[in-house]
Amino acid sequence: MPTRLSDRVGVATAYAAGGVLIIAVTVIMSWLVWQGIGTISWDFLTTGPAPGSLEQGVAGGILPALVGTLIVIIFGMLVAIPLGLGVAIFLTEYRQPSWLAKGTDTAIDLIFGVPSVVFALFGLAIFSQGWLAWLSNPVGDAGMATAQSFFCASLMMALIGLPPVVRSSQAAIIGVPNQQREASYALGKGRLTTIRRIVVPGARPGIATGIVLGIGRIAGDTAIVWILLGGAVLQSPPDGWYLPWNLVDFLRSEGSTLTTYIYFSSPAGEGNSPGPAYGAAFVLMVVILFVNIALIRLSRRKIGKR
């Protein structure tokens, strides 16, 4: 125990800060579990919402919303991961020309800081152009598009998933010791081979953290879903949507995610059925937790046998 008063105060503050955080998280989590777990059933997870019954608090299931969340995560990250990793490598290993590097840096900060609803609005303007109707569906003969589909939403989701991937990967790449790069160069390996075989593998845990944060941002976003995916909470997906040859049609259709489902069925939304809202929130939490643990585990792969 430190003897000086100022030290003691400092230590006490640090303990208190940690304690408050743990208490807050515990309260929120247990509240969610307590409220939500009763709603969870096989039916809840595997059926769609029952239109008309939502008002009475018997909401049916969350399958479309759960699938919707997974789809925007997968397709959003499918764009965000390679792009983000590329940007991170450019910003750390190349940084030439420097005006481009500085511009990219600012752009990433901007994307990180601007609320997603702004991008969603912009997306609406772009994706409603007639020549982009293949991403959603045409509106009559007006030469416009609905701009509401999994494609449109995922593309914007990629944008908000990008900054954490870039920043986290960047930090991890900088953290790869220069000695290792030099050792690789000294063995006659070029820059690209060194990046591919030494730098990126060495930065894997940090890259995984970035991906996890990106997934968290996408899974938690509501504005883009409302504007670019449609508020189709009560709408069940078309029959046979899960069949591979229906995939493109399905991705061009409107849908919902867990976040919009939660909003819709919460007392604040039209559905006004708190039970399913808590249930969906619980499921969302479990999904994110599971993805986090899986990714972090994968990235910390052990080298060789014991």
Binding site: P177, Q179, Q180, E182, A183, S184, Y185, A186, L187, G188, K189, G190, T193, R197, I198, P201, G202, K302, I303, G304, K305, R306
Partner: protein
């Protein structure tokens, strides 16, 4: 500066001891060679202590054996040929010739026109106080210096008569021909096998299989004196090895690229005395089949392993030549002060 390990100033004692050590190594490699006729650890036979009684001057080797393309040795080296002992590699056959090398970082000149000769198959020790430019010199040879964007490099470094700074130089090929071992052991965070195979795996469409790489991996691990310790654990993380083993792994990894020259930047400074001794043994074994240019802070080490030595001070070569000459009977007062431990 650590004290020299030989309190005796009698040059004959030390030379005899040094040759005895070499002799012992020759016998070891002879034994190995007897068991395995194609054993790559076998070094070319050198004169033994018996063959060359201490104090006897060996006949100077013929200067005409020099590669025609190679640069002429510097004056001092040429002079030292008259007292050139037979077991030391021929000073007129230069694998590396550094001429007028100037290196500056952001306009601050670190090397002011350095000339160094590295005879083929020799161990060349670069000594000098901290900040004298030894490491910069070493890193300029395999062109690592230019990784720093502020570096400007002038002068010539000839590898077999070809300037490595020529426009058309294939940088990756150059760095395979001139390997490097760093101050801190820096194995990659991979398995032992993958570390060694790193230089062998090319960017070819098909990656060579593990079994096809195995003989070569075993060969270089044997040459680096690590095989017996790791042969059952090739799939273990290289970072689980001890510091000395890691450094020998780094040497093996470098040998895998089949270099003609190995640059060593204080390779033992992070190691304990026992590991240091093993690395020194290894360097002596490797010399002959390839050339070693070693920067060392440890004068005793430079004396133990160096065939030739160059003393640098503030970016200039003060003295170079046969290691014995530089360390025991230097021409310059500055060298004399340094090797006698007065500063550094």
């Amino acid at each position: 500066m650590e004290p020299m390990d030989t309190p005796s100033n009698d040059p004959t004692d030390e030379r005899a001891a040094r040759q005895e050590w070499r002799h012992a190594h020759d016998r070891t490699s002879d034994l190995q060679a007897a068991g395995n006729p194609t054993d790559p650890t076998m070094v070319p036979p050198v004169a033994t202590a018996d063959a060359e009684p201490a104090g006897t001057q060996a006949a100077p080797p013929a200067a005409s054996t020099a590669t025609p393309a190679a640069a002429q040795p510097t004056e001092r080296i040429a002079k030292s040929m008259t007292e050139h002992p037979a077991h030391v590699p021929n000073p007129s056959d230069l694998v590396l010739a550094i001429r007028g090398l100037r290196v500056a970082f952001s306009g601050n000149e670190i090397l002011h026109g350095v000339d160094i000769d590295a005879p083929r198959g020799a161990v060349v020790a670069l000594v000098g106080p901290s900040g004298c430019g030894k490491t910069t010199l070493l890193r300029s040879i395999n062109r690592l210096t230019e990784l720093a964007p502020t570096a400007s490099i002038n002068g010539e470094i000839q590898l077999d008569g070809q300037n490595v700074y020529d426009r058309g130089t294939d940088l990756n090929l150059l760095r395979r021909r001139i390997g490097m071992v760093f101050q801190q052991p820096n194995p990659f965070p991979m398995t032992i096998f993958d570390n060694v195979a790193f230089a062998m795996r090319e960017q070819a469409k098909t990656r060579p299989s593990r079994s096809s790489l195995m003989p070569a991996v075993q060969d270089v691990l044997q040459r680096a004196g690590l095989w017996d310790e790791v042969k059952d654990n090739l799939d273990r993380n290289a970072l689980s090895l001890s510091g000395g083993q890691q450094q020998r792994l780094c040497i093996a990894r470098t040998l895998a690229a089949n270099p003609e020259v190995i640059l060593m930047d204080e390779p033992c400074s992070a190691l304990d005395p026992r590991s240091t001794a093993r690395i020194e043994e290894l360097i002596i074994q490797l010399a002959g089949s390839l050339t070693v240019v070693i920067v060392t802070h440890n004068l005793a080490q430079a004396k133990r392993i160096g065939d030739y030595a160059a003393y640098l001070l503030n970016g200039d070569v003060i003295e170079q030549g046969l290691a014995r000459k530089v360390f025991e009977d230097p021409d310059q007062q500055s060298t004399r002060d340094f090797v006698s431990g007065m500063f550094g």
